[in-house]
Amino acid sequence: MASLIVAMVLLGIISIMTLFTLSYGIQNRRALAVESATRVVQEAAQAGLDQAVQFFRARTFEIASTWLTSAPGLSRWERCAPSDVSVPCGAVAASVRANYWRYHDDGRADPTALDMRDAFTDSTGAPVQQLVTSAGDYRIAYDVHALLCLVDTDMPDLQCRPSSDSAAPENNGKAAYPGPYAITLIAHARLSESDAEAVKAIRQAIVKETIATRRTEGAAQSRLGVVPGSWSDAGGIDGRGNYAER
């Protein structure tokens, strides 16, 4: 009887020690899984930004012309309201917010998310909104929002033209804005597990980057390229769709 009691006590002590080791192992594993998902969702958001860059490169002739008109069905840009803190207008300081234009398409469920279906197709030729939909075992969903800045080259610090500017599209009476412009892109990516029956985002990431027109030597027309140093992952979107930076 005494041996049995000693054996049970020993077993109890070893079990407690093992459980502590197990809980450490499980926590460690969970931390690695979270880190892994964070890195994947960051890459997904980057893929969203990169796809948006290609989207705007394909729409160079419309960005500062057709899309700036007020014609129904053609207009894609509208001025940000100074008090609008939602994505994408909330990504710029309130003092200059009204000088920016947000991408806006009334015909869409999420009117401020870029409609990239008319530029990208899958292997069968069918239009696709996302070029990247999965990463290993994860499902990826992203949308990209954009802010247009019609750059005022007369200003020493290159500000965006306000609506009061005589050269602003509202006042110049021309079909196209001839000057340089910059577009700030905000990509919001969500990750979910691919075997989940109901898609529930397990991780999300928001990254921001600016592209601008630039005419390179010998080139016939200006091209859109990423502005060095403009990339940031400091932003966040709350439950009400408002943008804030840490």
Binding site: L4, V6, T18, A47, D50, G136, P228
Partner: protein, 164 residues
């Protein structure tokens, strides 16, 4: 039969434990220890898998960054043109040597703008500076865990030639 014939001549408190007690204790202890060892083994194998996955992810991310550097770097146009399908077996990541090798694969699909749409193009078509184009890249890493199961992960990327 007289039961007293088999009774121990020693007083009860000096008799110690019977063989049956000892055996029962050993069996209970052995079953418990075996169970715990199995559990420990499973957890340590899961931890090793998680570590392998982190290593594989690091590999895939570094490869994607390397390709981004090639597309955006000083020799951007020629570097971008060189981004193509490839497969490599890797035995160590940084200073860490892995038990089983990782198989890194890069799958590239090239698209160029035609009219208003991007369409797939082959590598034989030269890169034209005035035609927007990009490459959709999938970097996947596969490895075999200690228990012989094959795992893999993939990272996507969209790479365009730098214009600045």
């Amino acid at each position: 039969m007289d039961r007293r014939a088999f009774a121990s001549p020693l007083p009860v408190r000096w008799r110690g434990s019977s063989l049956l007690d000892e055996l029962t204790a050993m069996v209970v202890l052995s079953i418990g220890l075996l169970g715990l060892a199995g559990l420990q083994g499973r957890v340590s194998s899961a931890a090793a898998n998680a570590e392998s996955q982190t290593m594989a992810l690091t590999l895939a991310q570094s490869e994607l960054e390397r390709l981004r550097g090639i597309a955006d770097g000083a020799n951007a146009p020629s570097g971008y043109a060189r981004i193509a399908d490839r497969k490599e077996t890797i035995h160590s990541v940084g200073e860490q040597h892995s038990e089983a090798p990782y198989v890194l694969r890069v799958d590239v699909a090239r698209f160029a703008l035609q009219g208003k749409h991007y369409i797939p193009v082959g590598d034989d078509v030269p890169v034209q500076a005035d035609v927007p184009e990009f490459k959709r890249v999938t970097v996947s890493v596969a490895w075999t865990s200690r228990n012989g199961m094959t795992h893999s992960l993939a990272l996507p990327g969209i790479l365009g030639p730098s214009v600045f």
